[in-house]
Amino acid sequence: MPELIAKPALDAAPVTLAGITLSVADPGRITFVAPFPGQEKAVAKLLKPLGLGFPAPNTALTKGEARIVWTVRGQAALIGVPVPEGMQAAAAVTDQTDGLAAFALRGARAAEVLARLVPIDLREAVFPPGSAARSGLNHMPLILVREEAGFLILTFRSMARTAWAELNEVLHHIEARDRLTN
């Protein structure tokens, strides 16, 4: 076996503009879990010791470092923890740790950044912490998780630089508008 060197998807320093901070995130291990037909209860039982369950559509469950995010029909992403033993018997399990790039967007106005890129309503009243969505970040596939302090943004690792550029550009737009209007 050759020795593989783990590298982050992107080597970029955090950017803070208009009170919003964009940074590359490392949520840890990411695994897609898709229960086999009729195995939903078995999967929920395996997730229980982690303090999690199988999430309903458009939601995410968090317990300490562990979280599970609904991704598509019959599939969720288990994040931050190894897969519980025995899961392979109850669900299709695929490691996505190296396949996805993660970004954190923090700040009270974080939703304003995504409002320019994501075609769904992300205001806190409609999309509170614990919400998750599968949508598009401009033209890129997106898994979005609402956190207490902002958003966790997941997209394909191959699009990491583009995603960073798009988010960064919006931050500059907002900062420029603030400067002109204040």
Binding site: P57, N58, V72, R73, P119, I120, R134, S135, G136, P141
Partner: protein
């Protein structure tokens, strides 16, 4: 135009891909007569009013959707998951 995805909720048209008439759900048996296959592959109604077609939520939950809409009023009457519509 917006579609009310049964899983994701109300979403913009750009998240979806249009496949065509819902006739594609009724695939003939392999030994069906050529007329049935001709009908399945090529013959489409062009209704003025209520029609059913297939949409794919490709930038969302990746579900196939059975959409009932009105070609006269552009009203979306119903959106169902294809996976559940057949049960």
């Amino acid at each position: 135009m917006r579609l009310n995805c049964p899983l994701c909720g109300s979403r913009d048209r750009r998240e979806f891909y249009y496949r065509g008439a819902a006739d594609y759900l009724d695939r003939p048996e392999p030994d069906a007569p050529p007329e049935a296959w001709d009908n399945y592959l090529h013959l489409r109604d062009n209704p003025m009013g209520v029609t059913k077609d297939l949409w794919y939520h490709d930038q969302g939950c990746t579900s196939w959707l059975l959409v009932t809409r009105n070609t006269l009023t552009h009203e979306i009457l119903d959106v169902k998951l294809v996976a559940e519509a057949g049960e």
